[in-house]
Symmetry: C2
Subunit: 129 residues, 2 copies
């Protein structure tokens, strides 16, 4: 992977906006700084960054894929009401790959744990109605 301004911007936008954005949201975030950037470039770079283990994909939300700049092990909580993605600390479940191997023999390179529910913000606003 060579250096490119576009890739820098995408990575920077991901790091500065820990909102687990989609490719499209990133495109929006970056355009003010580089109006000429192409959506295809965003997609291409995101895929490359994922392939190189620099960022992570989060799927599970309906429709589009979200991205996460944080490589440290952690999980996600998706609010089914506001669709926000929250981080969940690693100690909720540890060494899952190891347990998988000892129980089934399968060797996983990665694991992805995602919870779904209603976040506290949405629970409060619902009560307030």
């Amino acid at each position: 992977m060579n250096f490119s301004k576009q890739r820098e911007l995408i990575l920077h936008a991901l790091t500065q906006n820990p909102i687990h954005p989609t490719a499209d949201k990133l495109y929006e975030l970056i355009r003010p700084f580089m109006p000429t950037i192409s959506l295809a470039t965003v997609y291409r770079n995101l895929n490359q960054l994922v392939d190189n283990g620099i960022i992570r994909k989060i799927s599970g939300l309906d429709g589009s894929v979200h991205y996460d700049h944080c490589v440290e092990k952690h999980y996600h909580f998706i609010c089914t009401c506001c669709n926000k993605v929250y981080d969940v600390p690693y100690d909720v479940a540890q060494d899952l790959e190891q347990k998988l191997k000892s129980l089934t023999g399968l060797e996983a390179q990665s694991s992805d744990l995602t919870f779904k529910g209603i976040c506290s913000v949405c629970q409060k606003s619902k009560k307030g109605d």
Copy 2:
């Protein structure tokens, strides 16, 4: 939900083909038995069955969503080589929602754990080359 032949067939195809198929794959599987069924009907019914907790969605594979007839708690292993989806028994990780709550306070309605790696079939065939 009313009864309909189409829904019966979709559910039956899912149960008889534990390959975690996509909507499109199910369409293929069903057409020999009912050539007039519409792809839209397949999508519509899958969504309804998911909403009623009769089947489950599996996302995480690139592209399309896969479906699982089994409602019993279990997880998945996706082979990055052949793209097959294997079932992983529940005892690999138990009571995750409870641990989430006690550690973070978040209340999850569901959790989804997916491993990725290369299955034994693909590992063997690679060695054989």
